[in-house]
Every structure is written in C-alpha cells, then in structure tokens.
Symmetry: C2
Subunit: 159 residues, 2 copies
C-alpha cells in the first residue's frame, strides 16, 4: 500500500463490483445469519425487503474482499515501478456502518474507497491516521452500504 506522504484527502479508488447471486446469499446466511428473508425467496418477498436479501455482514465481507484485492493490486503496481510498499497497521475497527438499502438477489454492487481526512498520529511518531469511507452502490446508482474506517499508515521516514 501507499505511504501517508503519497495520499491526499479526496483520493478515491474504485474497488470493483460483485453480483450477489441467490446461492451466494443463502450460503452466507445459512452459516452466519439464518434469518428467513436471507434464506428463502418467498419469505424475502413477504418481508419489508421485498425479496431475497443479502445479510448485511455478507455485504460488509464482500467489501472487505474487494478492498484486499485492491491492496494487492496497489502493492503489485508499486513493486512493478520499483517503489517501496508501505505496510499499514492493523485496523482498530470502524464507525458508522450503514445498511442504506437492501441488497437483493441479482444486484450488482460497485464498491469504492475514499479518503476523508488525514492527520499525523500524536502517540506514534512517523505514523499518520487516515479516516476514509468505503461505500457500495447498486446497478441503479443507489447507495446501499457505507462504512467509516480508520487506518494507521506509515510515513516514508519510518521505513
């Protein structure tokens, strides 16, 4: 990944998209979120969601999957250019996860990541704290998912 010095507020990366099939939705739900509207089309139709709906944890996990793929793409691009790859700190968690609209079977969600704010860490010299938003939008351009993230990112001099 990139160093703190090479990132600026407003930077945005498209993370790619994922189509939630009925089979995917049911498989995740059976394992982690076996509520009826995540397991059965007819129960989904009869629920507030209006159709078979992905678990919110499934949507968040798919966003993570695309984020990791993007990290790996960034690292390969940097390495291909002969540049050093920064190792970010472990994530302490996140704030304000919002499931804005249901993700129904067949929906294709495009995820993006943007930088909202940046500041040097007060407690850890040579590190910066980056706040960002990861978001998901469906094939009709409607926001479905948003999460505010915090990351610890090394500065170049900490190498």
């Amino acid at each position: 990944m990139r160093y703190f010095d090479d990132i600026k507020v407003g930077d945005r990366r498209e993370l790619g998209s994922f189509t939630f099939t009925a089979a995917d939705i049911k498989r995740f739900a059976a394992k982690f979120d076996p509520q009826r509207f995540h397991l059965d089309e007819e129960e989904g139709r009869r629920s507030l969601f209006g159709g078979l709906t992905a678990s919110g944890w499934h949507v968040g996990s798919v966003c993570m999957k695309l984020l990791v793929a993007d990290f790996q793409r960034q690292a390969q691009e940097l390495a291909a250019r002969g540049e050093a790859v920064a190792i970010w700190g472990p994530s302490p968690g996140f704030r304000e996860l919002r499931w804005i609209r249901p993700v129904l079977a067949g929906d294709t969600i495009s995820f993006a990541s943007e930088v909202l704010s940046m500041r040097p860490s007060e407690s850890l010299a040579g590190w910066g704290i980056l706040q960002g938003r990861n978001s998901g939008t469906n094939q009709r351009g409607e926001a479905v998912f948003s999460i505010l993230t915090t990351a610890f990112v090394p500065m170049r001099e900490t190498k």
Copy 2:
C-alpha cells in the same frame, strides 16, 4: 423477540461461545479477507498478531450467528409460554465496531448482548429505539470485540 415494554436498560443476554479453529479461520479468509496473517500459521506468527488470526469480519459474522440463534431461542420461549413474539424492524447499521485484541486459532470467544439506552421513536409512533452493545470475550476473560447497535423495537400497542 421481546416488546419494547418488556425490555429495560442493563438487560444482558449471554449469547453463547464459539471456538475459532484454524480451518474455520482460513476458510472465511480465503473467501472474504485473504490477507496472509488470516491464511497461514507461519505468516500469522511473523505478524503483529503473533499467530493465525481470524478476520475481523469473521468475528463480527460469528457474533451475528449467535445473536440470531438467541433471537430464535427467545421466540421459542415466548411461544412456549403462549406470549406474542415481537417482530423487530430491520437494522439500519451500527456504530463503533472495535477489534480490541486479535482472535487467534483455538480461541473460544463468548459473546453477550446488553441494553445501553432506550427511547420512544419520534418519527414512528408505537416504536422504540434501543441502543445496545454486543461484545466478545476470550477464554482468558479479555475483551476482543465490541459493537454498538441500534434496533427498532415495537411497543405492545402496535401489535
């Protein structure tokens, strides 16, 4: 689930526990969070975490799994006593997810859910808004996971 009227601040439910095996950790990571310390014991040992570590999304999804099982247990208990079962609204999301300590292969995490605050909804007559915390503690009594949740819960008169 229970009605708003039957819940009070401080109510706590033990949701049960889950042991994260190396196989579970790798299976989830391969699908949703393929970072090296989630996929390989040796890479985990060399990382800041000190061992093969569960993806934070895996920990959150397991908490959801135990929460749903507890919802179903509550519904059965109410039905067995001949009481009405409340249908809660869909979750709008949550706040402040914290991954406090790594969950390593072999760790057994006990989850609990407690009610932090309650108020009537201003916009939706007959509904209340409940704020709570779901948390996870390992076999040494150390907090590993915490998430603040919001739920829309019907009052008895909305039946």
